[in-house]
Symmetry: C2
Subunit: 116 residues, 2 copies
């Protein structure tokens, strides 16, 4: 397949909607700016975007583009997924151990690309 | 600037969250599959994706990538914006004239890209 066609082929999208407490936002952004890039090497992964909302109180969006849904599911069940979320998971666990509310919460929603 | 760098430069994103009544979804998808592509010629426009949610009741997402926020704002105030939304606006007006609820509603949210 030609590289150009590969770029145009966007069939499946997963969006992780992440609500961050205001005092955790700087840490959250640091986690992404220093991410391990393990996801980048997953089969079927195309690219991703980290979006910061301009409106306060709205969630951050982590949008990932995949060749198909199976490639995304394989990633969520892989050691790379655990490794990629390790520091965030640790922050959540620490808050829990200290009897505090979690600094962030996330929800995955999945989509089919029907137009470009 | 090299074309490759141009592709990587994703600074600003606008997402139009569109709630569609179930009996309007086929029409809504038809509007996008036959869109005028007027937005594609706007200065600063990079590309867009039309996402259909797999979960029922979730909004469709129209994600557009721009060089900067000004380019997006210029588009929303342009004749191309009115032209591009004409058929959808007509459907909404027709429902109103017939005393029915609008078949869809939309909300724009805007974001800065902080990571790829």
């Amino acid at each position: 397949m030609l590289p150009k066609l590969k770029i145009m082929k966007k069939n499946f999208v997963a969006i992780n909607y992440i609500n961050c407490k205001p005092d955790y936002q700087a840490r959250f952004e640091e986690l992404f700016s220093t991410r391990a890039h393990a996801i980048d090497k997953m089969p079927g992964f195309q690219h991703m975007n980290v979006l910061k909302p301009q409106q306060p109180g709205e969630p951050y969006l982590i949008i990932s583009f995949w060749d198909n849904e199976d490639a995304f599911k394989t990633w969520t069940q892989s050691p790379a997924f655990i490794e990629g979320h390790k520091r965030g998971f640790e922050d959540i666990k620490r808050a829990k151990d200290e009897g505090k509310e979690p600094p962030m919460s996330s929800t995955f929603k999945v989509y089919n690309v029907i137009g470009n």
